[in-house]
């Protein structure tokens, strides 16, 4: 142990071996799907598999050059999840549909962008300079879907898409990253102020009202998304992201209590005033009532069909390609977890959830190891965002909580989500690189003079 700490090891060869396994999962799944359908091992299969292999090894090589102490497990996990998602989405394509190839294009683009980020950013601490630019960027990104001209309008009840030429894009996915950078940057600079000021009532230290500012802002942003974009999932995700970063920055449980109180209060008001929120709650709580089941839109048919699929899968599943995703609306995006439960069974779904758990755990590990507060907060926030997003999606599909329109990271069909999550992984890899690597005593090039080093 001591040796490991004193002389950091890159572990890139471990990553290489795991990467081969991860590719075997994704490509193996593709092969199984091919075997079970009429078009077994068509040219698509070879083409897609080789592209995925090339991209994965290119990413690996970049890490060898640019971030050789980066966490060796994250990339293989993400490649496995992404590959499995590709196989499942390809398998669900009806004749004439091309969601599978589209997902592959986005995967390659997302990996390329992530590589670019790693290659040119070199050090995550540079991002701290963009704290307030990130806030501005977040605001722009979140408002974009409401701007006439580029807005894609209301799609499936939510206004979260914009139109870029032939493609649609969800800017809110990228805002997840910029908001995390803003929260981490702002709180790493101001945590002492927030920590020390404020009145103490009993054991609870209440923050000063002016320090509540960012929290109120975050709350308003979340509520704004809920009201104007009608997107419950993203709203919860942003607020959760903020709460975890402020909690880690201050170690004050009072923030968490205030935050949860705010979100429950906001949710309660929203359910009173907005039919789409009320419908979500109703189709969760009363999913098995006939009028709720049959209601369209906003009924519980989707979630109940997903549950039927998962129940049908049971312990070992029906086998890849043997399920009935055609019975479940949005089986390739929102409900892809239900399809995994159906075709791969409890065992397969547990394995996938374990992969996510391993992924965010490695992210938290990077946060623990990071030597700067900004890096700690950013890694923590991004890792928790992955965990929370999985919880909201899988919890929604299994009827643990109301179903909202979030995507399952790396698995679900959707380009913006893939892009955002690959960038998040790129950032986590970079933070883990500084965390696991030898102590860097040289100053950051062009370090901002006002930066306060806290560790």
């Amino acid at each position: 142990m001591i040796l490991a700490i004193t002389t950091p090891k890159p572990r890139r060869n471990v990553e290489l071996i795991l990467l081969v396994l991860a590719l075997a999962v994704g490509i193996g799944a593709s092969a199984m799907v091919g075997l079970n359908s009429t078009a077994a091992f068509d040219s698509d299969f070879w083409f897609q598999s080789s592209l995925l292999i090339v991209a994965a090894f290119a990413f690996h090589m970049i890490l060898r050059f640019r971030a050789k102490y980066a966490d060796p497990i994250m990339l293989p996990i993400v490649v496995a999840l992404n590959g499995l998602g590709l196989a499942l989405i390809h398998r669900m394509d009806q004749p004439g549909e091309d969601t599978g190839n589209n997902q592959l294009r986005w995967t390659l683009l997302a990996m390329a962008v992530s590589i670019v980020v790693i290659w040119f950013l070199k050090d995550h601490r540079l991002l701290r300079r963009f704290t307030f630019i990130s806030l501005a960027a977040s605001a722009v990104l979140l408002v974009l879907p409401l701007v006439p001209g580029i807005s894609a309008g209301e799609v499936l009840g939510a206004s979260v898409w914009i139109r870029l030429g032939p493609m649609t894009f969800q800017p809110g996915e990228i805002a997840k990253i910029t908001l995390a950078i803003f929260f981490a940057g702002y709180l790493s600079s101001n945590r002492d102020l927030i920590l020390l000021a404020g009145r103490k009532i009993g054991p609870v230290q209440l923050p000063r009202f002016k320090d509540l500012g960012p929290m109120i802002t975050a709350w308003l942003v979340s509520i704004g998304i809920l009201v104007f974009q009608r997107d419950l999932g993203t709203s919860v995700l942003f607020f959760g992201l903020f709460i975890v970063i402020i909690y880690v920055a201050t170690s004050r449980i009072s923030w968490v209590v205030i935050g949860i109180a705010l979100i429950l209060g906001g949710g309660f008001l929203a359910s009173k005033f907005f039919s789409h929120v009320a419908f979500r709650l109703d189709s969760w709580w009363n999913a098995f009532t006939p009028e709720v089941f049959d209601r369209s839109p906003g009924g519980s048919g989707q979630i109940v069909q997903g549950l039927f699929g998962m129940a049908d899968g049971g312990l070992v599943g029906t086998g890849l390609g043997q399920g009935r995703p055609d019975l479940v609306p949005f089986a390739n995006s929102d409900m892809i977890v239900a399809l995994i439960g159906e075709e791969l069974g409890l065992i397969g779904l547990f394995a996938v959830v374990m992969l996510y758990m391993l992924l965010f755990t490695r992210g938290f590990r990077a946060a623990l190891g990071a030597r700067d507060a900004f890096g700690k907060l950013l890694a923590c926030g991004l890792s928790f965002a992955i965990a929370l997003q999985c919880f909201v999606v899988i919890g929604g599909v299994t009827r643990l909580i109301p179903l909202t329109g979030l995507t399952t990271p790396f698995l679900a069909a959707g380009g913006s989500s893939l892009l955002a999550n690959w960038i998040i992984v790129g950032l986590l890899l970079m933070i883990s690189n500084t965390a696991r690597g030898p102590v860097d005593t040289t100053p950051i090039t062009h370090a901002p003079t006002e930066a306060v080093q806290t560790s």
Binding site: F308, A311, L349, M357
Partner: protein
């Protein structure tokens, strides 16, 4: 800060612990309830596209799975669909299944316990599940003959059995339909056909029972066989008893009366013995017997013949239970004794009663299944003839047989007579209110001294002369066809 990072991680792990719990609940603990949910189409759909076993008659499939389209690997297909619809039922994606498709679903889908090892090998070989094939006791020639003997547009049923084994040789009814139309993979066509077929009077595809096993009809005079057996077994009557035979029997406690059939020979005598009363099918002697013996004696005898009872475990088709009503006043008892009022019997029930008389008083379990074979042709089930219940004594059965023989040789069922062969039979004409129309019955067996075949025919809503033409003479054709084989 690291302490709060660990706490945040623990919060995330706690959320995931909830997820593991929720997944376990949905996929294992609560899965049974979800699978049984009536909205859950998966079980039906999962089986729907499988290679189901065939239903076979005379070595040829009457229902089988053939290659389907890309949405569904197999398609259910019925040969001579109208002829066998009442037996096979249909197998539909939207409307579920009926008949043997429903009752033998485990065998046909290959999910019955006897096919467990086949399923295991299918899992390891990765092959498609295959169902067991079921061969029926039906004789395709007799089935076709019986079906054709019911004129198109005429509602009616015919049941042909082997009284010694309980095996069903033919069982048909009209109107019928083509189950292929409802087994199609095209949902729009399926729905249109379903609605169209349901508009035919006499067909209700929503019902799980229909035709010879499901339709409850007034049995009319064939019920007099029950009275006769009850009388002989009571000890109060014997083969030489003299019965009162007034033209009309005043019904106790009411102003109405029960007449004998006006145009017949009954009115030639004021008293009758059993042979005459049965040959001419006089009403008043049997009403007198019922009033004399009381309701319980008649109801008990009816029950011994199968009224109010089930048909045992070999028939497999769902069936309706025939009724002899309870709590009758004297007037109702007198009318019930001649098979009117609220007495109701399925054609199969009447066939079973006759078969019991033919088989020395022992009623055999009606059986439709000859063999069930696994996909590798191994026999996994082969029902043997089994007694269902004792209906009466051999002596009484043989006495009634003798009188039924007279009904054919000298009585009103003479149309069923075959030169050189003793045929036993009984007709019935149950009035349908005041419409002038009747349910016209024939039930009987041949040869009387060594019964090989029992035939029960009912034509619904016919006048007396049409009924007479469509019952006894048709029975004769079926007797000849079976006995000459």
């Amino acid at each position: 800060m690291n302490h709060s990072i660990r706490n945040a991680w623990m919060a995330a792990v706690a959320m995931f612990a909830l997820l593991f719990g929720a997944i376990s609940y949905v996929q294992v603990i609560g899965a049974g309830d979800l699978n049984d949910n009536p909205w859950n189409q998966r079980a039906v759909l999962a089986n729907y596209c499988n290679d189901r076993g065939a239903i076979i008659v005379g070595g040829k499939p009457i229902a089988e799975s053939v290659a389907g389209d890309e949405t569904c690997k197999y398609q259910r297909s019925y040969a001579q669909p109208e002829l066998y619809a009442g037996i096979t039922g249909y197998f539909s994606r939207t409307y579920g299944s009926t008949g043997l498709e429903q009752q033998l679903r485990d065998e046909l889908a290959g999910s019955s316990d006897q096919l467990f090892l086949d399923r295991v090998s299918q899992i390891f070989l990765g092959s498609q599940p295959k169902g067991a094939s079921v061969e029926l006791t039906l004789d395709p020639v007799i089935q076709k003959l019986a079906y054709d003997l019911i004129p198109d547009g005429q509602r009616g049923s015919i049941v042909v059995t082997n009284p010694k084994t309980g095996a069903i040789i033919a069982m048909v009814s009209k109107p019928s339909y083509d189950p292929n139309l409802i087994a199609t993979h095209d949902p729009a066509k399926e729905q249109a056909s379903y609605n169209q077929i349901n508009q035919v009077p006499g067909i209700n595809l929503n019902q799980s029972v229909s035709g010879p096993t499901g339709e409850l009809l007034a049995p009319g005079s064939v019920f007099k066989l029950v009275d006769t057996a009850a009388a002989l077994s009571s000890g109060k009557y014997n083969k030489d008893s003299v019965l009162p035979n007034p033209d009309s029997l005043p019904l106790p406690g009411s102003s109405a009366s029960l007449p004998n059939y006006a145009g017949g020979n009954c009115s030639t005598r004021n008293t009758a013995d059993f042979p005459f009363a049965l040959e001419q099918s006089c009403n008043t002697p049997f009403a007198s017997i019922a009033l004399d013996l009381g309701q319980k004696a008649i109801a008990d005898q009816a029950s011994k013949f199968g009224f109010g009872q089930d048909f045992g475990d070999q028939l497999k088709l769902q069936s309706a239970v025939s009724v002899f009503p309870t709590n009758l006043d004297q007037a109702a008892l007198a009318q019930s004794a001649v098979g009117q009022r609220d007495v109701r019997a399925t054609p199969l029930q009447i066939a079973m009663m006759t078969a019991a008389i033919a088989n020395k008083g022992v009623q055999m379990k009606p059986n439709l299944i000859k063999t069930v074979r696994a996909p590798d042709l191994r026999v996994i089930s082969e029902p043997k003839p089994e007694a269902l219940r004792t209906s009466t004594t051999p002596d009484i059965a043989s006495q009634i047989t003798q009188w039924m023989t007279d009904v054919v040789s000298q009585g009103i069922a003479s149309g069923a007579a075959i030169p050189g062969i003793q045929v036993a039979g009984k007709t019935g004409t149950a009035q349908l209110g005041d419409t002038g129309l009747n349910n016209s019955w024939f039930t009987g067996f041949a040869p009387a001294n060594d019964p090989q075949v029992a035939v029960t025919i009912v034509m619904e809503g016919v006048n007396v002369s049409t009924g007479a033409k469509l019952t006894s003479p048709n029975a004769k054709k079926i007797f000849e066809a079976v006995l000459n084989k």
